[in-house]
C-alpha cells in the first residue's frame, strides 16, 4: 500500500465502480431471482385461493417447510447484527469489510423471514389480528402465545437493524453523493442528510453509532431466543427443552456467518474488491464459523443426553426416532454439514482456502436449514398419541415458495449491490490506517 491517500482514493473508486453499469451476468442473475420471487408469490396466491391443503403439511405435522424457512431466514439475519454491533463493540477490525453487506443481508433476511408467518397462516388476510391494535370489540392478542412474542421480536429487530444500517450508511452516502451526477446525486444527497464530515458531525455520529450498537446487541440474543420459544414453550417432545434459546442463537450466528461467506466470496470476485477484502478477513469469519459450529455440535449432543438422562418415555422415543426414524438421512446430513465438516477449519490451510470456505458455507446453509426442518418435522411426526402419527413430505408449492424466498432475498441483495456502497468506505478507511 503506497500511501493512505492513494489507497483511500482507490477504495472509493473501486467501491463506486461496483455500483456502476450492471453487467449482463448481473442482469441475468437479477432476472432469475426476480422470476423466482414472482413465481413464489404466485404460488402463495394459489395457496390462498385453494387452501393450505396445496402444501404438504398435514395432520399431525402442522408446521413444515414454511416455519423451517422462517427460522432459517431469521437465523441468517443474525450475523448482520453480530458483525456490525457485537464485533463493533469488541473492536474487531475485520468487521469493517463485511458489516455493510451483512447488515443489508440482515434486513433482507428479516423481510424474507417476516413473510413466512404470513404465508403459513390458514387465513393470511387476517394476519393483522396478530398485532395488538385498539378496536371497538376490545379484543386483544394473547400475550401468552409465543407467536405474539415473535411478532414483537421480529418487528423490533427489523426496525433496529434498519435504523442501524441507515445510520452507518450516512457518511458513505455522502461519498457517493460527491461522485454521482444528475438525479442520482439529488437522491443520495437527500438520504445523506446533509453530511459534510465535520468534526462535530463525526462526534455525534460516533456517539449514535455506539449507542445503536449497544441497543442492537441484546437483540442478537433476544430475537432468536424468542423464535426458539415458539418450540420450547410447547409440550411437544423434542421441542420442549430449556436449551433451545442458546442453542438457536448459536445456530443462527453459525448460519448467518455461513451466509455472509456464501454472499461475499462471489461478490468480492464479481465486484473486484479483492484489494479490500483479503484472505485474513475470511479467516476471521471462518473462526467464528468454527466456534459456533462447536457450540451447535455440543447442543446436538446435549439434546440427546437430556432426553435419555430424563428417562422420559416420550423424549427418549422422540430422539430415537430423530436419529433412526424416517428422517434419519436428513439428520445425518445435518450432523455432517454442521458438526463434522466444519471441524476441518481447525486446519489453517483450509481456513484460508477460499473455494473450500465457499463450499463449506453452502453445506452449512443446507445443514442449518435441515436442522430446523428436522427439529420441526420429526417432533411433530411422532408425538404422544400413536394413532396420530404421520410423516410429512413437502409439496411443490412449498418448495416453490421456498425458492421464491431465495429469489426475494437475492433480488434485494443484487439491487443493494448496485445502489449502495457494498463496503463501509469510511470504516474501512478508519481501520485501514
Amino acid at each position: 500500500m503506497s500511501s493512505p491517500r492513494a489507497y483511500f482514493e482507490k477504495l472509493e473508486i473501486d467501491v463506486l465502480a461496483a455500483m456502476g453499469k450492471p453487467s449482463i451476468g448481473y442482469l441475468i442473475a437479477l432476472a432469475v431471482s426476480a422470476t423466482c420471487f414472482v413465481v413464489g408469490m404466485g404460488l402463495w396466491g394459489y395457496q390462498m385461493l385453494f387452501g393450505m391443503g396445496v402444501a404438504g403439511i398435514r395432520h399431525p405435522v402442522g408446521w413444515g417447510v414454511y416455519i423451517t424457512d422462517f427460522v432459517f431466514w431469521v437465523g441468517i439475519a443474525h450475523s448482520g447484527t453480530l458483525i456490525s454491533a457485537v464485533l463493533f463493540l469488541f473492536r474487531a477490525k475485520f468487521r469493517s469489510r463485511f458489516n455493510r453487506s451483512a447488515e443489508a443481508m440482515t434486513i433482507f433476511a428479516v423481510m424474507t423471514a417476516g413473510l413466512f408467518p404470513l404465508i403459513h397462516l390458514g387465513r393470511s388476510w387476517f394476519a393483522y389480528w396478530l398485532f395488538p391494535y385498539p378496536n371497538q370489540r376490545e379484543l386483544w392478542v394473547n400475550f401468552r402465545s409465543p407467536l405474539v412474542w415473535d411478532v414483537f421480536a421480529v418487528s423490533t429487530y427489523l426496525t433496529v437493524s434498519a435504523v442501524f444500517f441507515f445510520v452507518g450508511l450516512v457518511p458513505d452516502l455522502a461519498v457517493v453523493r460527491g461522485r454521482a451526477e444528475g438525479i442520482r446525486k439529488k437522491i443520495y444527497a437527500a438520504f445523506s442528510l446533509g453530511w459534510i464530515g465535520s468534526a462535530k458531525q463525526w462526534i455525534h455520529y460516533n456517539q449514535l453509532y455506539i449507542f445503536l450498537a449497544a441497543l442492537a446487541t441484546p437483540l442478537v440474543i433476544s430475537v432468536h431466543s424468542v423464535v426458539s420459544w415458539d418450540f420450547a414453550m410447547s409440550i411437544v417432545p423434542g421441542w420442549h427443552t430449556t436449551i433451545f434459546a442458546p442453542y438457536f442463537v448459536a445456530g443462527a450466528i453459525f448460519s448467518g456467518t455461513a451466509m455472509v461467506l456464501t454472499l461475499m466470496i462471489p461478490m468480492r470476485k464479481i465486484l473486484k474488491l479483492e484489494d479490500h477484502i483479503n484472505i485474513g478477513h475470511f479467516e476471521s469469519l471462518a473462526k467464528i464459523l468454527l466456534f459456533t459450529s462447536l457450540i451447535v455440535g455440543y447442543a446436538y449432543a446435549v439434546e440427546f443426553a437430556l432426553a435419555f438422562y430424563s428417562g422420559h418415555t416420550f423424549e427418549i422415543a422422540h430422539f430415537t426416532y430423530r436419529l433412526l426414524g424416517d428422517y434419519w438421512a436428513l439428520y445425518a446430513l445435518m450432523v455432517f454439514s454442521n458438526v463434522l465438516l466444519p471441524l476441518a477449519l481447525f486446519v489453517k490451510k483450509l481456513r484460508r482456502n477460499i473455494p473450500f470456505l465457499f463450499v463449506l458455507s453452502i453445506f452449512v446453509n443446507i445443514g442449518m436449514w435441515l436442522e430446523r426442518f428436522v427439529i420441526i418435522v420429526t417432533s411433530l411426526s411422532k408425538e404422544y398419541d400413536p394413532y396420530s402419527w404421520g410423516t410429512y413430505v413437502p409439496s411443490m408449492v412449498e418448495v416453490g415458495i421456498t425458492i421464491g424466498s431465495f429469489g426475494l432475498f437475492f433480488t434485494l441483495f443484487l439491487i443493494f449491490t448496485k445502489v449502495l456502497p457494498v463496503l463501509a468506505i469510511t470504516e474501512v478507511k478508519e481501520t485501514a490506517l
Binding site: 410447547s234 409440550i235 411437544v236
Partner: protein, 920 residues
C-alpha cells in the same frame, strides 16, 4: 339456502307427475307429513318424526330431526324395542343416501346406443303395462327384490297374483341359510330365532359377528352391554379377527372350517341339562381333547376352560353364525350349535322361535340359482329388479335379466344390477315415503315420510298400485293394513303384538341323518380367505354413502378402498409389505388388492371386507345354499405394484405411553404426579362455577362400532375429506376410534375426541384467542377469529384438532344436510369437538326460561346419544348427583396422558386390567 330452494321446500308441487293419476296424488298427499314446522311454530324448533331405519334389515326405530323443512339428523328412537335409542353408523349415515348427488333423479330408459335417457313416468309405466300385457302369450314375468316385509310384501303378493308375475325369493347376501336349514332339520322350523343374549350368563359365539352385521347389531350391542352389568362371561371363537371378537372377554382363534369339531367336543364333554337322544349323540363323532386341539388349534387349556365355564353357567347360550356357518362345514356347525342349545335347555327361552326374525320371503342364493336355472330355459317377459345392489351371488341371474323382454330396475343408484335393465324407476328414500317393516314376529315398525321427494321419485308401493290399476295410493294401503291390525299408522311408530311361546321338539332321526351326511372331517387348508363382516357397509349396499367410506374400518383403520388384511407373520412368509398390490388365487385373475399388514390378525388368515363378496362370484354351499365366505388353500399372487393405503392409524402400539388404562400402557414413570409433589403451573388453573361439562366412556362397553363417529359427522357439519386427503392423514373427524394392541386381547378400541382439558396446551399458544377456556370448562374454538397458525394442533397431545386444509365440498343436494345450529367452517380455520356446544346452548337456554340450571340427563351429545351400548355418558361434573360424576369418581378411571397435567374432562373406565402380557 338460496331463495329458489326455499320456495321448493315451501311446497311448489313437482310438476312432472301432475295429472298422472294416483302417482301425483301420492306425492301431493305427502305434504301433510312434511318435516315442516306448522305456521305458528318458531323456525328454530326441531321437528321430530318417528320412523324406521331401512339401511339394513334390522329395522331400528329412528327419530328424524328436521329443521327448516328438511331432515338433518337421525337419532335412535329411545322407545323402540330393537335399539332403545342407539343407532349404528350406517343408520346415522343413511341421510347421506337421501342427499346423495348420484341418486337417480328421474326415470331412465335405455337408449338405442345403450346410454340412459330420461323418460316420463307415464311413458315408463305405460311401457311396463304394455309389456305385461304382451307377456300373456306364454312368457313368464318375475319380480326379484331384497328382503321385503310388512305391507309391501303383502302388496307384492297381490301384485304378483293380479298381473301374472312370479315373485322370486328375496335376495339377501346374509340369508342365514345354514341356521334356517339347521333349525328346520332339528325342530322343523326354518327360521332365524331370537337370541336373548341379555338373559344368558355365558355366551359362546362361534363366528357370529354380533356387532357388525349379524341379525340386529344394535340390539346385540345393547344386550351384551346389559349383560356386562351382571357379569356376562363371553367366549368368542372365530377363524379371523373381527370387531366382535375384540370385544369378547375370551376371544379364541380357531382354524377355519374346524368349528364343528369344537362344538362336537363341547357337546360331548359338557354336562347335558336335558339329555339328547342317543341316536343323535351317536351321530356326533367322539372327539378327544387332543383331536379337538389338532383340528381347531384351540389349546387343551382353553378347551377345558370353555367346558368348565359351560358346565358352571346357569344359562349358557351358544350362537353360531357369520363366517363359521358359511363354508362346507357350516351346516354341521349350525346343527351342533342347535343341539347344544337344546341340551342346555336354551331352546324356548334364550333361543326363542316365538319372536323369530322375519326371513320368510328371503331365499338363499342357492335357492335362487335353482330358480334361475329353471328360468333360463323359459321366455322371460318383464323382469323386475327391486332394491338390489348386486346380482353377483346368483350365477346366471344377470343373463336371465338381460334376456328378458323388459327388465325394470327399481333402485336409487346405478348399482351393478342396473346394467341388465332397460328401464330404471327411481324409488323414493324411506324418508320420503310410507311403508312398514316387520322385523320379527311381534313387531312391525312404521316408515313415515319426513320430506317431499327431493327428486322425481316415487315409492315402490305406488308404482305397484299404479301398474295394478288399483284404487287409492300406497299411503292409504299402508294405513288400511294397520287399521286391519287395529292400529293407527299416523299415531303409532311401531306395533308390538304379544307373541306366543313356540313349543319345539327335537327331530332325532333327520338330525342324526343330516349330521352324518353333512359332516366334513376336513378343515380348510390354510391359508384361508375370509370375508369379514363389515360394520360400515353391511353386505356392500351401504358403500355408496360417502360418509361410511370416510370413517375408517375400526379394526384395520383403513378408510377408503379395499384392502386385504393379513397378519405380520403372513406378510413375512409371503414376503409382502403393506401397500403391495397382490392377486388372490381364489378370486380370479382380474382383481388386485392392496395388502394391509395388521399386527393383531391371526396367522394364515387373509381377510377381505364383506362388501367385496357383493361383487365377487363366490361359490355356494350345497348343504345350505349360502354363499361360501371362507375359502381354503388360497395363495397370494405376484406383487403387481404398491399403493398408498388410507390407513388412518399411525401405529397400534401405544405401550408405555399412558394412553390406555393398564400397567403396560400406563407405567409408573408417566403417572400424573407423585403424592406431595403437586405439579406447578405457569398460568392459573381455570375455575368453574356452575358447569364443568365432562364425559365418561366405559371402554368395557365400547365395541368400536363407530356409531358415535358417524353421529358426530352429521351433527356437526364435518366435511368429507376424501381418499387423497386421507392418504395425507388429513381426516376431519372430531371423534375417532383408535385401535390399540392390548395385552392378551387383540385390540382395544378407544374413542378419542377433544379432551376439553382443564389446563389446555392449545389455549396458551393461540395468538389471537381463537381458542380459550370458557366458563363452563370447554375449550372453545371461535372459527371466525381463527387465523390458522395450527400452533394449537401442534401443541395438542391428543391431536384432536382438525384443520380445514380446503373448503369442504358439499355437492348439491348434500348442501341441504347442514345442521343450522353449527357453522360450516371455511377453509383455513381450525376446528374440533365442542362437546356439542349447540346442544349445551339450547339446554341452557331452555333452563334459563325456567329459571334453573340444566338438569342431568336433560340432553346429551350426539356421540353419547347414538352409542348402541350406552358406553358414553355426558354431563356436569360439578353436579355430584350426575351420572358422569358417578362414573368419573368410580374405580379404575383413567384419563389419557394424565402425566402431562392437562386435566382432561374425558374419563375412561375399564374394570379388568387385561394387559399383563403386553406387547414389547
Amino acid at each position: 339456502m338460496k331463495r329458489r330452494d326455499f320456495v321448493k321446500f315451501l311446497g311448489v308441487t313437482p310438476g312432472a307427475l301432475a295429472g298422472s293419476g294416483s302417482l301425483a296424488d301420492a306425492q301431493e298427499r305427502l305434504f301433510e307429513n312434511l318435516l315442516r314446522p306448522k305456521q305458528q311454530d318458531p323456525a328454530d324448533m326441531w321437528v321430530v318424526h318417528q320412523t324406521t331405519c331401512t339401511e339394513c334389515p334390522a329395522g331400528c326405530g329412528v327419530l328424524v330431526k328436521g329443521r327448516e323443512g328438511r331432515p338433518v339428523k337421525l337419532e335412535g328412537d329411545p322407545d323402540h324395542p330393537i335399539n332403545r335409542g342407539g343407532l349404528c353408523m350406517r343408520g346415522q349415515a343413511s341421510l347421506g343416501r337421501l342427499y346423495h348427488q348420484e341418486r337417480l333423479r328421474e326415470p331412465l330408459a335405455r337408449g338405442a346406443d345403450g346410454s340412459w335417457e330420461p323418460i316420463s313416468w307415464n311413458a315408463a309405466l305405460d311401457r311396463i303395462s304394455n309389456a305385461l300385457v304382451e307377456s300373456r302369450g306364454g312368457s313368464r314375468n318375475v319380480y326379484l327384490s331384497s328382503r321385503t316385509t310388512g305391507s309391501l310384501a303383502q302388496l307384492l303378493d297381490e301384485f304378483a297374483a293380479s298381473l301374472n308375475v312370479e315373485r322370486l325369493p328375496d335376495l339377501e347376501l346374509f340369508s342365514y341359510g345354514a341356521l334356517r336349514e339347521a333349525y328346520d332339520v332339528l325342530f322343523g322350523r326354518r327360521e332365524v330365532p331370537a337370541y336373548h343374549v341379555e338373559e344368558a350368563d355365558l355366551l359362546v359365539t362361534v363366528g357370529a359377528d354380533l356387532f357388525e352385521s349379524f341379525i340386529s347389531p344394535v340390539r346385540f350391542a345393547r344386550h351384551v352391554s346389559e349383560g356386562l352389568e351382571h357379569h356376562l362371561d363371553w367366549y368368542h371363537l372365530e377363524p379371523q379377527l373381527t370387531m366382535t371378537g375384540t370385544n369378547a372377554g375370551h376371544r379364541i382363534h380357531l382354524h377355519a372350517g374346524s368349528e364343528q369339531w369344537l362344538l362336537a367336543y363341547l357337546l360331548k364333554s359338557a354336562q347335558p341339562r336335558s339329555p339328547l337322544p342317543a341316536r343323535v349323540l351317536d351321530a356326533v363323532p367322539d372327539v378327544t381333547i387332543e383331536q379337538a386341539f389338532a383340528r381347531t388349534g384351540v389349546t387343551p387349556e382353553q378347551l377345558q376352560g370353555l367346558v368348565a365355564a359351560w358346565d358352571a353357567a346357569e344359562h349358557p347360550l351358544v350362537i353360531a353364525g357369520g363366517v363359521s356357518t358359511a363354508h362346507a362345514g357350516g351346516l354341521p356347525t349350525a346343527l351342533l350349535a342347535g343341539l347344544l342349545q337344546e341340551s342346555s335347555g336354551a331352546i324356548g327361552n334364550l333361543v326363542d322361535f316365538g319372536e323369530a326374525e322375519n326371513y320368510d320371503s328371503v331365499g338363499t342364493p342357492g335357492e335362487l340359482v335353482d330358480r334361475v336355472v329353471d328360468l333360463a330355459s323359459a321366455n322371460v317377459g318383464v323382469c323386475f329388479l327391486s332394491r338390489l345392489h348386486t346380482l353377483a351371488p346368483v350365477a346366471g341371474l344377470q343373463e336371465v335379466a338381460g334376456s328378458a323382454v323388459l327388465t325394470v330396475g327399481l333402485t336409487d343408484f346405478l348399482y351393478p344390477p342396473t346394467e341388465a335393465c332397460d328401464l330404471l324407476l327411481p324409488i323414493s328414500h324411506s324418508l320420503e315415503s310410507w311403508g312398514d317393516v316387520e322385523t320379527y314376529r311381534g313387531l312391525t315398525s312404521v316408515v313415515r315420510p319426513a320430506f317431499t321427494p327431493l327428486f322425481d321419485t316415487v315409492a315402490e308401493g305406488d308404482i305397484l298400485l299404479h301398474l295394478m290399476a288399483a284404487p287409492g295410493n300406497w299411503e292409504d294401503y299402508v294405513a288400511r293394513q294397520w287399521q286391519a291390525a287395529g292400529a293407527d299408522v299416523e299415531e303409532q311408530p311401531f306395533l308390538e303384538r304379544p307373541t306366543r311361546p313356540v313349543s319345539t321338539r327335537l327331530r332325532a332321526a333327520p338330525t342324526a341323518d343330516r349330521l352324518a351326511s353333512s359332516w366334513t372331517p376336513d378343515t380348510l387348508e390354510e391359508p384361508v380367505l375370509a370375508f369379514s363382516p363389515s360394520v360400515r357397509f353391511f353386505d356392500g349396499r351401504s358403500q355408496v354413502i360417502s360418509l361410511l367410506n370416510e370413517i375408517p374400518d375400526p379394526l384395520t383403520a383403513v378408510s377408503y378402498g379395499w384392502a386385504l388384511s393379513i397378519s405380520e407373520d403372513d406378510a413375512m412368509m409371503q414376503s409382502v409389505e403393506e401397500g403391495h398390490v397382490v392377486q388372490v388365487s381364489a378370486l380370479g385373475s382380474e382383481d388386485f388388492f392392496p395388502v394391509r399388514v395388521h399386527p393383531a390378525f391371526d396367522f394364515a388368515v387373509l381377510s377381505l371386507g364383506m362388501e367385496h363378496a357383493a361383487t365377487a362370484a363366490l361359490p355356494i354351499d350345497a348343504n345350505t345354499g349360502e354363499l361360501i365366505r371362507c375359502i381354503g388353500g388360497v395363495e397370494l399372487g405376484r406383487v403387481r405394484d404398491s399403493a398408498v393405503l388410507t390407513v388412518l392409524s399411525g401405529s397400534m402400539d401405544a405401550s408405555g405411553r399412558g394412553v390406555l388404562p393398564n400397567d403396560v400402557h400406563h407405567p409408573p414413570g408417566v403417572e400424573a404426579h407423585e403424592p406431595g409433589h403437586e405439579p406447578r403451573r405457569l398460568y392459573p388453573t381455570p375455575e368453574h362455577e356452575t358447569y364443568r361439562w365432562a364425559m365418561a366412556i366405559d371402554l368395557d362397553k365400547c365395541t368400536g362400532c363407530s356409531a358415535c363417529v358417524a353421529a358426530c359427522y352429521v351433527e356437526n357439519n364435518i366435511s368429507i375429506a376424501g381418499p387423497d386427503e386421507h392418504r395425507k392423514g388429513r381426516e376431519m373427524s372430531w371423534i375417532r376410534i383408535q385401535p390399540y394392541l392390548d395385552g392378551d386381547r387383540p385390540i382395544e378400541f378407544m374413542p378419542v375426541m377433544c379432551q376439553q382439558c382443564g389446563n389446555a396446551p392449545c389455549e396458551t399458544v393461540c395468538p389471537v384467542y381463537a381458542t380459550y377456556h370458557n366458563p363452563d370448562g370447554l375449550n372453545a374454538q371461535v372459527y371466525n377469529r381463527c387465523v390458522g397458525t395450527r400452533y394449537c394442533a401442534n401443541n395438542c397431545p391428543y391431536k384432536a384438532r382438525r384443520f380445514n386444509w380446503f373448503a369442504g365440498q358439499r355437492p348439491e343436494p348434500m348442501d341441504l344436510l347442514v345442521n343450522p345450529d353449527v357453522s360450516v367452517r371455511p377453509k383455513g380455520v381450525m376446528e374440533k369437538c365442542t362437546f356439542c356446544v349447540q346442544r349445551i346452548r339450547e339446554a341452557k337456554d331452555h333452563a334459563k326460561d325456567e329459571d334453573r340450571i340444566v338438569l342431568d340427563g336433560e340432553f346429551t351429545t350426539a356421540c353419547a346419544q347414538s352409542c348402541p351400548s350406552g358406553a358414553i355418558v355426558f354431563g356436569n361434573l360439578l353436579d355430584e348427583n350426575s351420572e358422569v360424576y358417578r362414573w368419573a369418581h368410580s374405580e379404575n378411571v383413567h384419563r389419557i396422558l394424565e402425566g402431562l397435567g392437562t386435566e382432561p374432562a374425558v374419563y375412561y373406565l375399564r374394570q379388568d386390567n387385561r394387559g399383563d402380557t403386553g406387547h414389547e
